[in-house]
């Protein structure tokens, strides 16, 4: 195991930001995302002896994804939380706003993303941040390519609507 550690670190620590970003978009909260990433790395290390892949980043992110969804399921049971529902979980526009339009646009997108179900956020992150192909997503998500196509398309439509909603709410607040 001692010999595996340097190799593991070399292959997987460079992807820490990507792992955190994916976890953060799925579970939403910073501390939860950190926990998910730490658990995912521990799982990856345990399975590292069996790693024969040519794409450590994709392998790691698959583990992060699975860990994040397990985390959601676990906390749904533990906390008796209500499953995500757009009508229930629509997040009000934050009252604190940055002066810069750059930060404002960034905040609008993040708020709009929180209005989407996790599986919509997930395909958007994997495609837009990670540059995964439909085929790669289909393989990792274990769904047909047609499902990836429709899910990503619906995610974009829903995000478009959500951004408009956020912008409308901000406009109302400013009046």
């Amino acid at each position: 195991m001692g010999q595996e550690l340097p190799r593991f670190e070399e292959l997987f620590l460079p992807h820490l930001d990507a792992a955190y970003n994916l976890a953060r978009w799925i579970v939403e909260k910073d501390q939860d995302a950190q926990d998910v990433v730490q658990e995912a790395y521990a799982r990856a290390f345990k399975s590292f002896a069996g790693f024969r892949g040519v794409n450590p980043r994709a392998w790691l992110l698959t583990i992060v994804r699975n860990t994040a969804y397990n985390w959601i399921q676990k906390h749904l049971r533990e906390d008796n939380l209500i499953p995500f529902d757009e009508k229930i979980h629509a997040v009000p526009v934050s009252e604190s706003r940055s002066e810069s339009s750059y930060e404002k646009r960034k905040q609008q997108l993040q708020e709009a993303m929180t209005r989407l179900p996790p599986d919509f956020r997930e395909v958007l992150v994997l495609y837009e941040f990670e540059g995964w192909s439909y085929k790669e997503m289909a393989s990792v998500l274990n769904v047909p390519i047609g499902t990836v196509m429709s899910r990503l398309s619906r995610a974009r439509r829903r995000l478009h609507e959500a951004i408009s909603e956020v912008q409308d709410l901000e406009t109302e607040d400013e009046l």
Binding site: L5, F8, E9, L13, L16, D17, Y20, N21, R24, W25, D30, A33, Q34, V37, Q38, Y41, F45, Y102, R105, K106, Q108, L109, Q110, M113, L124, Y127, E128, F129, S133, Y134, M149, S150, L152, S153, R156, L159, H160
Partner: protein, 71 residues
């Protein structure tokens, strides 16, 4: 291909993810359908709007690295 089918393919078309036969069929439909051309334009514009913001919205966590001293 009808309009509903075409609209279902537009995002994958912009992503360059359609098979050649699907792409050709869609382009044939688009060439004669102003409504779907307008939807394509709208989606292309949203794509540009969204992608620019998405990249800037990547989350990072400096504190996370400190957790990995256990490895």
């Amino acid at each position: 291909m009808n309009c509903d089918d075409a609209k279902g393919f537009l995002d994958a078309y912009l992503d360059g993810e359609l098979e050649l036969s699907q792409q050709l069929e869609l382009e044939q439909h688009l060439s004669g359908c102003a409504e779907c051309q307008a939807v394509l334009k709208e989606r292309r514009e949203f794509r540009a709007f969204f992608s620019a913001r998405m990249i800037s919205s990547s989350f990072k966590c400096i504190a996370l690295a400190s957790r990995f001293c256990v490895f």
